[in-house]
Symmetry: C2
Subunit: 399 residues, 2 copies
């Protein structure tokens, strides 16, 4: 390499993003064969518009506050009233008892995760992630100086494999990251498994005399589609919980970068962690989350983009793929389907799909081979048009 | 300390912010003695409202773009068209030749600095700052793993002391941070000194076979008040220049966090640095700068808040303070006056000022003793009302 800049950052900055490259390919391909003949399932970008409440709230705060009040600095952790409004909403929704003082507003879940991991990382610490996982976990964990420990999920349902987890937890374990509803599998961790996970971590803390933080990365919390599916609020089950939330998906505003860190008030290390979050944020150049959204988003709590389109897409795709002979675990949330590739090499499988103008992402991007991710945050019309290509792809494998 | 969180971050998170504490004291004191009897010069927050163009542009983009276009992800470095618009503006204004591909949009100057320093920091590297300096430089430099090297300014005019600089530059020097117009002194580095600085750094690069980056931290660029004062555009004078810009002060929108990094296309290390900036940003959890401002701010380029109020305040204060016997260097920009404390201990001096309900900040916060900072981004009425207190303070020291 060179001696001017750190190799790690240069590599991260030049690393091709497979999903984005596929998306760019799709754009070009559409020019060649027509928009309606390319089936792009590459990116996890919300396709349902933000609820009207978002723009209405932005317009309202533009009129309601003076320029200095609205666009001025808030405290670094965020406006106190805004944080309290969000805390009140969490308490009401989940029967919990946190306050604005437990929240630190962030530029989305990515900054929440990066800050949280830096804030708790001590030399020798390890962070456990469940495979498959969102690619950036590796980046954030390693940048925080922790060792990434990958624990495979059960292949049958993409839920936690507790035997595998138990053998991975040791005296160095400092964090366990869960992401439910999950990117890329769509799995939602049921309450009984959260209870089991809490017990396992509590036992480990006692055994090793350590603190293990359960980090719940929850950008997809609101994206569940069936009445019998709920996403447990982990701080109710485990005291050393930290929530990393983003409004990106619920309010279809991923570009605006707005979310929060909630350090559970039940954690015996609450103050150490909260102040370390403030310090880590400060040292990483975070001052306050974008002020206009600190004012506008609390006016939209409980609202979401119209997520029924995702449910429709999921149902059409799931049923069709099962019919065509794909091995699919029924996804309960987020907007992803994770299906088994029909040959061992997911890249080769995706190349075949690409020859049918079906753009899907090999699971290698998510830390494991042999599967593909289908991001169904797209037009329902495109889903319908894409079905013959999925059928044809299966037929190429003799299904 | 404890073994749960890094001591450094915990300390940074709990460290009292003297300026903010003074501001909070002022709020309480106003309740006791009345709003008009407390003269709060503690915080560097713009007091002039954003130009109407800012809110107009926000309203316009809310109507012009679809929700998905407006609030969706841009590329990590920022929307290409927005970056090009800003580059075009820079080229037109400064007779330069950069492109959108040289820009990386950030959450303000703090994140620009934190990302830039991380992006260029190699083991053993040193970063030079000129004393007095904005407190957070120390935080960002040290967090990036660099050694902070403090070079005192000339006390006579707070300009670069080239002898002191020359003896501080060595084979480990990787960055020199300048901040012109300056916080806390208000000094603007004149063109002849930028030329001299460029020559000194070029010579050092040749001598040591090294790369030294000149980082221009420019949130106050537009805040100059006299026709004969210009702020040189450093990339025209020195190839290894990196600009860290923020719209916080020019557009009075510090809470919205929007700015950019511009890696000079003339740098022989442009690509290494630019991609390392992308990688460092990624690993610190920055994805894209808030999207609504990526669209709205380029529509306001060249506009500023009404800065005439700052000029009025500066002129009233400067003339009065000189008359009362204070030692003041005439400030050419930003919204700060930096005056000599009338006793060696600036804290003691500020306590005496406080007893007159005059809230000013000891220079120790900026890395040197014996001075105080007066942030005159306040109501002109308050400036006028405060003059008797400044006079009385001087009288307490026999002036």
């Amino acid at each position: 390499m060179n001696k001017i800049v750190p190799e790690r950052f240069y590599k991260l900055g030049t690393q091709p993003n497979e999903m984005r490259e596929l998306f760019e390919y799709g754009k070009k391909r559409k020019l060649e064969v027509g928009d309606d003949k390319v089936y792009d399932y590459s990116l996890g970008n919300p396709s349902s518009p933000a609820p009207a409440a978002l723009n209405d709230s932005i317009r309202e705060v533009l009129g309601k506050y003076s320029s200095i009040q609205l666009h001025g600095y808030t405290s670094s952790q965020g406006d106190q009233a805004s944080r309290q409004t969000i805390a009140d909403y969490l308490n009401k929704t989940h029967g919990f008892n946190c306050s604005g003082g437990d929240l630190y507003l962030t530029c989305g879940a990515a900054s929440a995760l990066a800050i949280t991991l830096n804030a708790i990382s001590m030399p020798g610490d390890e962070a456990i992630v469940f495979v498959p996982y969102f690619t950036e976990y590796k980046v954030f964990v390693e940048d925080a100086g922790m060792k990434l420990v990958e624990v495979p999920c059960r292949r049958t349902d993409f839920q936690i494999d507790f035997d595998a987890l138990e053998s991975a937890v040791n005296e160095h374990t400092k964090a366990v990251i869960i992401n439910s509803p999950n990117n890329p599998t769509g799995a939602v961790i049921p309450e009984k498994d959260i209870i089991k996970l809490a017990k396992l971590l509590d036992d480990a803390q006692k055994k090793y005399g350590s603190a293990i933080f359960l980090i719940a990365d929850e950008p997809y919390r609101e994206l569940v589609y069936d009445d019998d599916i709920t996403v447990p609020f982990v701080p109710k089950y485990y005291d050393n919980s930290i929530i990393n939330y983003s409004f990106s998906k619920a309010l279809s505003m991923p570009g605006e970068r707005f979310g929060y860190i909630m350090v559970s008030p039940k954690s015996p290390y609450h103050d150490e962690v909260y102040f370390s979050v403030c310090g880590a944020g400060r040292s990483m150049g975070y001052i306050c989350a974008p002020a206009i959204f600190q004012r506008a988003v609390p006016m939209c709590l409980g609202q979401t983009a119209d997520i029924s389109v995702y449910k429709t897409n999921r149902d059409i795709l799931y049923n069709a793929l099962v019919e065509y002979g794909y091995e699919v675990v029924h996804p309960d949330g987020a907007f992803y389907l994770f299906i088994k590739a029909m040959e061992p090499d997911a890249y080769a499988f995706c190349e075949k799909a690409k020859s049918l103008d079906l753009l899907i992402v090999p699971s290698d991007t998510f830390g494991m081979g042999g599967y593909v991710r289908i991001a169904y945050c797209v037009d329902t019309d495109m889903v319908r048009r894409s079905l013959p290509a999925f059928r044809k792809l299966a037929e190429m494998y003799g299904k």
